[in-house]
Every structure is written in C-alpha cells, then in structure tokens.
Amino acid sequence: MSAPDRLVCRPQEPAELLIRGAHVLDPRAGLDAPHDVLVRAGEIAELGDPGTLEAPAGAEVIDGAGRHLFPGFVDPHVHLRTPGQEHKEDLDSGTRSAAAGGFVAVVAMPNTDPTVDCAPVLRSLREAARREARVPVGFLASVTRGLQGDALTEMAELRGDGALGFTDDGKPVYRAAMLRRALQYQRLCGGVLALHEEDPSLSGNGVMHEGEVSARLGLGGIPSISESTMIARDAAIAGYEGGRIHIQHLSARESVAAVAEAKARGVRITAEASPHHLTLTDAAVPVALDTRLKMNPPLRSEDDRQAIIGGLLDGTIDCVATDHAPHAREEKEVPWEEAPMGTTGLETAFAALYTELVLPGVLGLGLVVEKLTAGGALFDLPVPQIAVGRPADLCLADLAAEWEVGEAGYESRSENCCFAGRRLRGRVLATVAAGAVAYRQRTFSVVGAA
C-alpha cells in the first residue's frame, strides 16, 4: 500500500528568517540556551551563538531577545467541525487557532456531519485542507460507520487515502467484539485506534463529574469508573490481539492507573491528557454554571487532577492534547444540562500549562514542551525538532507576557474557552509551521527586513 502524505496544508511561501538571540528550548535536541536560528527555504539552516549569524538578503529578522523558541507543538486531538458544522469552526479558522497557539500540526477527529467514514469524504476533506489549512492537518477516520458502533469502516481504503488512524471519538466503541475486529483488521492496514473511553450505561444522563459538586447541584454525575473500566477492558483486548491503541483525554485517577498497568504488562498503549484536566477541577463549575466548563470527559476532582499530573511526570501519559471542541455561542448560552460538551483549547494550551503548572513549579518547562510536541509520534509523524536540516517547525513565545483569555477575541470561530476571563502568563508571538510563517501576533512587530 503506497502511503500518501499523511498531513496536508495549503501551499505556503517557505520562510527566510533569522531569529536572533531567543532562548532555544528543545529537550529532545538537548538545547536550553540563547541561540541565533537561521531558517532558509523553510528549513533550519544554521544554529549559532547569539549575535553570530548574519541575515541573508531578503530574510526577515526577528528579535528573540528575552523570548523563548520551542519546537512547534503538535495536537493529536482537535475538532475542526468540517464538514457540516462550519458555523462552529472550519479548516481555515481552526488551523488559524492552532497556529495562534504555537501548534504546527493538528489531527482532526471524524465526528463531523457526515462522519469521515468513507474514502470520498476523506478525500474531499483533504482536498479542502490543501486549499485552506494554515498548518498541516492529519485526519482520523471513524472506526465504525456513522459512529454507530455496528459496522467497521473500509479501514484499508481509508488508510490508503491518507487516514492517520481511526477513532469514534465523542463515543466509545461500546461493543467489545467490534473493537476486537478493528484491532484484528489493524494488522492489515495499520493505523492506531484512538479511543474515547466511556461506558454509556455508567455515564447515564450524567453532565458533570460525579462527586460532591454534582450532589450539591442536583446534576447527573459521570463517575470516574465510567472511563477507567472501559480502559481496562480495551487494554485487555488490545493486549490479546497485539493491537495498538491510544487512550484519549484521561480524566480520572483510576484511568491513569489502568493505563500504567497496561503499559507495565507490555500492551501497546499510549495516552493523552488535556490542559483543562491538568489545570481545572469540578470546583470551578458551581460558581456560575458556566457552560464553557462543560466537556466530556468532565472536569474531575483535585485528586484526579493530581493523578493526571503524576501520569505526565512518570510517563504514563505520553502527550498533551487539547480536545479543541468549538461550539457556537447560542448552543452554549443555554442551561447546563442542555449545553453541548466541549471547550476550545488551542489558543490557551501553552499559557494555561505554563501559568498553572510551570510557574508554581509543578512541572518543568522542558517537560511541558516535550509533551506538547509529542502528539504526532503516536501516529508515526515526525516530532518537530530544532536541528539543522529539519523543516522549520517553531513556536516563539514571550513567557513574561500577561494576558486575559478572550480579551482580544479568538482566532477560532467559537469562543467557548474554559479559560475565558482568566489572566495567563506566556503568549505565543509567532509560529512557523512546516517551514512557513503561519502566525504572527497582531501587535508583535519584527525588527525589519535585512
């Protein structure tokens, strides 16, 4: 089977760029010091001590002094809502939002309308991304047709047409036998199965984490075991079949334990956690029942949050994923129980983690950068690295900049960000994705062209 380009993007002008004196932090490349970084024709051409590199004619010069330069982030879990729900997000707005958050590649979920469950839909979506996407986008196809859980998609054809992998995200693959078939079929076509883990019979009519807050509010609770029991089940099936699975958006202590246990047994399993589960808890919900805080899985307890941080530290959790889930204002401006699940996250991921976890000393900046860049690896995509000869995938950030989320609107078409109104530190100033400048903060000016 010939593999097409897994990521697609609109054609861009390759960057000619000299970033002077920024503090380059790339744990994988072993870089943690100020450098000059020269980008020529979209590739990292040279690294030098600060002030040592000269800008070639026509190159743009960016003053990086006092700023940080990271390898660009990769988000393995976003909802671009296309096709069918373009009033929430489209390929252009979604990838602009990604670039504004320092992301140089994103992986889009297939729970669209229609579902990405057959080759024609996938092909037309990839065609559209070649015209509209500001940063490279990869697409997952669904495991089952129409996310209905009762018939496999044509996985081999979908892989041949560029599907990075498969997921029924938004829903679990509820029937164990269906997941087993998909894992058997994976031997033919490859492609990791990304799993939204939830037992609908346990979640019931739940709309937030089951605990003291839901008891007080009279809201139906989603218990932690709704997630963790399905992870344990699916890890057992994957282990039995030798298949490869990725667990999406871990939210509970029991879930982290289930993944750690499976890893220890040698199951081919990876896992992600989202910035909101790492920084917020259900205690934030009752203040105003702000529906921007309603997502699935829900914000859980402080104990769960600590367990997820622990999972990131000990390697149980491989990467950070935003689960960027835009919804229109009128869809969210309704009572809590009526509101759809989801928060946007691309534009706030770095700042939220930096402010809530790095500044208080809970996580090292290097670890955060590593987990924000690791998301592509689980789909066998190259991990961005600041090294000579590599494509320029870069994120320039000002760690001292303080801003209020939403103060100047969002690049995303939707504004349902769970961090809205919070003051955060750390602002992405510019993003170079696959060798081209994908984002520049509006108020951020360059030194000038040489």
């Binding site: 509010l217 009279g218 029942l289």
Partner: protein, 315 residues
C-alpha cells in the same frame, strides 16, 4: 438581596427576617378584604416551564394579595414550543417590564442564568433537581410555628434524595437554623458525596425514632423504570412512613403532592402529627414575604432607555 436563587443567598438572620414578615402577613388572609397595597403598580411575571399547581398558584395569590399585577406565562402553547430559546423568551418578556420574575424550569441553574439576562428581580421556583428555596422557607416557617425553634431539632428527610430539589434546599435551610439533618433513602437514590451539604446519611429507618421531624419526599413512579428501586412495593415496605413507624411526638411533613400508600400510609397523612396542610397555607404568606423583601422599598429596576425605541416627542 437582589434575587432569591438559592438558600445560600440567605444567612440565618435573612431567613428569620423573611419568616417574621410572613408571620405579620397572616393577619391579611384573615381579613374580609384580603389585599394590602404594598406592591401596587409592580409587575410579577410567573414563568413556568414545568407543571405546578401549588407553587404557581401561591405565588400568584401572594402577588395579588400585595396588589401587584401578575402575568402568567406557561411554556406549553407558547413560542417555546416553536423553538425559542430560554434567553430569547426572557428577553422578549422583559419588554413587558416586569419588576420580578418567578421561574420554574427543569434545568439546574436556569434561574441564575435568567437573572443575568433581565433587569428584574428573579425568584427561583425550582430549577431542575437543584433548589426550591421558597419551599424550604415555608417548611422552616411551618416548623417554627410548630416547634418554636429549629435549634437542636433532629430532622430526617426520607425518600428519593437524588431527584429532589426540595431535599437540597431544605438541608441547607434547616441546618442554617440550627437543626441536625439526616437524609435517608435507598442507596441508589442518595447521590455520592451528599454529606458535603452538611447532613448525615442513613439507608434504613431503624433509627427513625431519634427524629423530632420526619420529612417524607415524593417517590415518583418512573424511578422504577431506571431500576433505582426494584418495585414501589419493596420501596414502601422499607421506607414508607406509616402508623407503626411514626412516633406520637414526631412531626410529619411532605412537600406534596402525596403518593398515598407509597411514601406515606393513609393513616399518617390524616394524623394530628401531619402538618402538610399548614405547609400549603404557609406557602402564600412566605411567598408574600419574599416578594416584599425583593421589591418593597426598592425602586423599579434601573433601566437605561432602549435606543431602538424612539423617545416620545412632546408637541
């Protein structure tokens, strides 16, 4: 106090102030002309998204007794059925310039949302399974009349706690006034973590004898379909308050409407310990006091002129 959305909006002194005023209003109901002009010229909008007999009618009676104008808006047969959102409905009805909106909805937090969308004062008359603060106030009123004080009283709330907004508001109100509250019911119908409201939890009626007050909750028939209880028969066998279980000195309460033969046996409903009728009667005076608290002595809501409406031109 600008709105009454939750019992948490009130401290003990605030609750007592409302109850004292309610007490002073009882005299009005005994007059030949049951009306006082306290809220003359004020508009009260009843916005009910759920069926209600006593709550809606007692708010209406309370408002009219205080000489306010009342508009009733029931969700059935209105634009809501044509898909109008809660926000649009509230903003549309706000054009009638109500001074106060009484709202009941099946959704947690809806009253608080409405408070953010209107200039009027808002009274939560039940928001999903969250709260029903005026029910709690009238229950406290009834108990105060009966016991004199709630300080040190042991109150058992028995039944389907999970689906009960009355249970939530009442645990908060009873404890604020110094009572010790125990909730008791099937383990499937008491939410995990409910103790955080400040009550203790029991699963059997074995120690019901300790209670000074037994507050039975309504057991809805549809709970059986979700296997919360295997059958109403078994529920009644374990949790029904009957003549055998209710002690002679215990006070019996129920928010109504009662399922005879399910949560309560017929003999206790009609017993002298039951204050169910007094609860209903208290509903009117307590709601008068709440309306008075929120409206009297305060000017009409501060409204900026709507720029889309041209100012009247004087010739």
């Amino acid at each position: 106090m600008r709105h009454l959305l939750s019992i948490e909006d009130l401290d003990r002194a605030g609750i007592e102030r409302i109850l004292d005023r309610a007490k002073s209003f009882t005299e009005v109901s005994e007059r030949e002309v049951k009306k006082v002009p306290a809220l003359r010229g004020r508009r009260v909008l009843n916005l009910f998204y759920e069926a209600s007999t006593r709550t809606r009618s007692s708010f209406e009676l309370a408002a009219k007794t205080l000489s306010a104008e009342v508009i009733n808006f029931a969700a059935g047969g209105s634009s809501v059925e044509k898909g109008e959102s809660l926000k649009d409905t509230v903003q549309t009805l706000s054009a009638y310039r109500p001074d106060l909106i009484v709202i009941r909805t099946p959704h947690v937090g809806a009253a608080a949302l409405v408070a953010g969308w209107t200039d009027a004062a808002v009274v939560n008359a039940g928001d999903g399974k969250h709260e029903h603060p005026t029910q709690a106030l009238l229950d406290v009123y009834t108990l105060r009349e009966r016991l004199g004080s709630l300080d040190g009283a042991k109150i058992w709330i028995v039944g389907d706690v999970t689906h009960s907004r009355v249970a939530r508001s009442n645990v908060l109100a009873f404890t604020k006034l110094g009572a010790a509250v125990t909730v008791c019911g099937p383990p499937t119908l008491i939410p995990r973590g409910f103790e955080a409201l400040g009550c203790s939890v029991e699963y059997t009626l074995d120690r019901l004898g300790e209670a000074d007050v037994v507050y039975a909750l309504r057991m809805q028939r549809e709970r059986m379909t979700d296997s919360f209880v295997p059958s109403l028969r078994e529920y009644a066998a374990v949790y029904q308050i009957d003549g055998r279980r209710l002690g002679a000195r215990q006070v019996l309460m129920h928010p109504g409407p009662v399922n005879r033969g399910v949560e309560l046996a017929a003999e206790v409903i009609d017993s002298p310990q039951a204050v169910i009728g007094q609860q209903v009667a208290a509903g009117v005076v307590v709601r008068m006091a709440v309306l008075y608290e929120l409206l009297a002595g305060r000017g009409a809501p501060d409204r900026r002129p709507d720029p889309s409406i041209p100012a009247p031109q004087l010739a």
